[in-house]
């Protein structure tokens, strides 16, 4: 407690918050000595398989940015906070980041639960928030935020694209089973899939719905049941240790010979699975940033990012690294736009946030547009798992690219309502081979 009070920053921020009327904070902003970013991500627990690589990517990109003079001439500094202890802690940490550390922008959260709890703080604290990885569709469909934007796609696109691919690649399936983690993403993604499947191919029978405990380390019982049921398709939106365990146990018992797997979040586990991943199953990456992307928009930038990451950390980047990078690039684009709009003067928090609405920023593979409601439109690439000489792990072949806008619910519509209106003909028109 004494350290708090002796910290001048805390005092200044504290008295400022209490004693100054709210209007004062809208005064012309001073160009800061450094641009502070508060980043919430998982640094412990099972989801740290995403959180730690994303942190590495963030640190690497910030080093690169600062070596090139920072953003709009201001060096960047990141403060990392662990999401794992739960929302009551995280909500407090976000306040601390803003009110004590004085961060200018927040990169927020992997977990949908964290995002749902913390995004309303963007309004209360009037701080720009870039949702860098969480996938829940509820954020922008149930609320409107002036200060929050998602710099990547979301659950709806990430489930619909693999479904469209399946319907095109293997149109004659009759039965489906699902094995998802028992938490919000597992449940939500199944609801999205089921809704879309009932619209696009009515009459498919669901033979098993299994939601084993989050963090399970054994799926042998579930696999036995799937072996006995012989469904045509097995959907699993699981990730991390659970996906690795499931695939290994399933392939050992040749489940992959009886059913085709659809694994929308597979990419992050491919390096770990290595040759254990069976070929010919549908894999997704929550976006378009496959390491073997055949035609990235800016191949030099793409290779530079991948190679720099490999050189520094001795592994390939996985999709959370790309999502983190997207947030960094969006921040750069948005801040530069806001500074340009003020002829080089530093923007206020409100002006900075306004610059993100409708912003289109480049990524090495494509461009992402933050549309009217704050949702980013990220292209989705889905393919069949395969091996080649370039990578010691599975990468997709026969890839289809689905432009972000084509697999996202229109602004103002709820995903589940929109998915119900899909016509079976969409399967033939959506996406293109690359």
């Amino acid at each position: 407690m004494t350290t708090t009070l002796s910290r001048r920053e805390a005092l200044v921020a504290g008295f400022g918050g209490v004693m100054l009327p709210a209007t004062l904070s809208a005064q012309p902003a001073q160009k800061p000595a450094e641009l502070k970013i508060g980043v919430t991500t998982f640094l412990s627990g099972p989801a740290s398989v995403f959180g730690v690589p994303s942190r590495k990517a963030c640190e690497m990109l910030i080093d690169q940015l600062n070596a090139a003079g920072g953003i709009a001439g201001v060096p960047v500094r990141a403060f990392f906070v662990d999401e794992a202890p739960g929302t009551d802690h995280l909500v407090g940490e976000i306040r601390r980041l803003v009110q004590s550390e004085g961060v200018h922008v927040l990169f927020q959260s992997i977990s949908s639960g964290s995002c749902l709890a913390c995004t309303p703080l963007s309004r209360e604290l009037s701080k720009l928030m870039l949702l860098w990885d969480c996938g829940t569709q509820r954020i922008f469909e149930e609320n409107r935020y002036e200060y929050a934007f998602r710099t990547q796609g979301y659950g709806t696109s990430e489930v619909l694209a693999p479904l469209l691919y399946l319907l095109k690649h293997k149109p004659d399936f009759r039965t489906v089973a699902v094995l998802n983690q028992d938490y919000a993403w597992g449940r939500d993604s199944w609801e999205l899939w089921k809704t879309a499947m009932d619209a696009l191919k009515p009459g498919v029978r669901v033979v098993a719905e299994m939601f084993p405990r989050f963090g399970s380390t054994d799926f042998s019982t579930e696999i036995t049941r799937l072996l006995a049921l012989r469904p045509d398709v097995i959907l699993s939106t699981s990730w991390g240790g659970e996906l690795v365990t499931f695939v290994r146990q399933a392939t050992e018992r040749r489940l992959h010979e009886r059913s085709i797997f659809v694994l929308p979040v597979a990419e992050a586990s491919m390096q770990i699975l290595g040759r254990s991943m069976p070929e010919g199953h549908i894999i997704g990456t929550r976006g378009d940033h496959w390491n073997n992307h055949p035609a990235p928009k800016d191949p030099a930038a793409f290779n530079a990012f991948v190679n720099a990451y490999r050189q520094r950390f001795n592994e390939y980047p996985i999709y959370p690294c790309h999502h983190m990078a997207q947030a960094v690039w969006a921040l750069k684009a948005g801040l530069e736009k806001a500074v340009a709009a003020k002829n080089g003067a530093w923007p206020s928090d409100a002006e900075l946030a306004a610059a993100f609405r409708g912003l289109t920023f480049p990524t090495p593979t494509s461009t992402i547009t933050l549309r009217e409601d704050g949702q980013g439109l990220e292209d989705q690439i889905v393919g069949l798992s395969s091996f080649n000489d370039r990578f010691p792990f599975a990468v997709p072949k026969d890839m289809m690219l689905y432009p972000g806008a084509s697999v996202s619910a229109p602004v103002g519509q709820k995903s589940t309502d929109w998915l119900k209106t899909l016509q079976p003909s969409v399967v033939q028109t959506a996406g293109r081979s690359i």
Binding site: G45, G215, T217, S220, T221, G240, T245, Q249, R253, S269
Partner: protein
């Protein structure tokens, strides 16, 4: 009812096979916890960490030795040896430097010391093994699969899960029963479990028994982890998941009762796998339902002995 069995009898058979292997793993972890509790009267929350460290160590040692050209068959003894190593190093360390200082304290304080240890070890695991899933499945792959007939169809099971896991559990159970009943050290442990005061009054060196028991319990936890490592990807947090279930087993079994732990593990393993087939949403709560039901009928646990009420 008969009709239901006609439709689902085969499935039930499969569920039983699955239940056996998961019961085997549950037993290995829980019996160590139960043994430690019986003798030291400490509910060791860090038992879950020992499980996780056992698993991680077995995987890394396995990967390291495989790199040196170790033949595949040796991967199974390697699992056991790594577990023994982990238990032999960490067990005495924890008992000597931590638990020994708090034997005189209240139960809650002892519980919390192990809780603190658990928190510290969670981060230690992360520092040593990182956060990416680690797996080493040579043992499972080496033993291959066996096709179990299922009506006109067949279901491949891994030999490792069908035979090795339950096998280890049975061997451990028999070995423990023999050790506790037939050897002097074992009888001393039983004596301390039953009545610590009387045992020490008769000249038993409690400190030695505590050290021995805790080390042995740590080895069993590590063995549970090591044996799970060929089938599971190891990630941060596996210890936290394991320990709660083991608590339920210990309370249901009766304190210090190894046969109780075996029977409870069997009920919980089978209960969970049957739930996966017929009502998957119940799977998670099955162990707790079993625990509550058992304790309703037998408040001292399945094989527990009612403590004499002291005045």
């Amino acid at each position: 009812m008969a009709e239901w069995f006609q439709d689902n009898g085969l499935l039930l058979g499969l569920a039983l096979l699955d239940g056996l292997s998961s019961a085997g793993l549950i037993f290995l972890v829980a019996v160590g916890l139960n043994l430690v509790f019986g003798v030291l009267r400490i509910v060791n929350v860090a038992h879950g960490s020992l499980y996780a460290i056992g698993a991680y160590a077995a995987a890394s040692i396995g990967i390291f030795l495989a790199g040196l050209g170790l033949p595949d068959w040796a991967s199974i003894p390697t699992l056991v040896l790594s577990a023994a190593l982990v238990g032999a190093i960490l067990g005495p360390l924890i008992e000597r430097f931590l638990l020994r200082r708090i034997y005189a304290q209240e139960e809650v304080v002892q519980l919390l010391v192990t809780f603190a240890l658990f928190m510290i070890l969670e981060d230690v695991q992360k520092l040593i093994w990182g956060v990416q899933p680690i797996h080493h499945d040579t043992a499972m792959k080496y033993l291959g699969t066996i096709d179990v007939p299922f009506g006109a169809d067949f279901i491949p099971f891994t030999n490792y899960q069908l035979f090795v896991l339950p096998g280890f559990a049975v061997v451990t159970l028999a070995g423990l029963a023999w050790f506790l009943r037939r050897t002097l050290t074992g009888r001393v442990i039983v004596a301390v479990t039953t009545d610590r005061e009387a045992a020490t009054a008769m000249g038993i060196d409690a400190a030695k028994v505590f050290l021995l028991t805790f080390t042995f319990g740590a080895m069993l936890a590590a063995l549970g982890g090591a044996l799970s490592s060929p089938t599971a990807a190891l990630v941060p947090g596996i210890g936290a998941q394991t320990i709660v279930l083991s608590f339920a087993v210990v309370a249901t079994a009766g304190l210090g009762q190894i046969e109780g732990a075996a029977l409870t593990s069997l009920m919980m393993g089978l209960g969970r796998s049957v739930a996966v087939y017929f009502e998957p949403e119940l799977e998670v709560v099955v162990p707790y339902i079993i625990m509550v039901l058992v304790l309703l009928v037998r408040p001292q646990g399945l094989f527990g002995v009612i403590e004499t009420r002291r005045v």
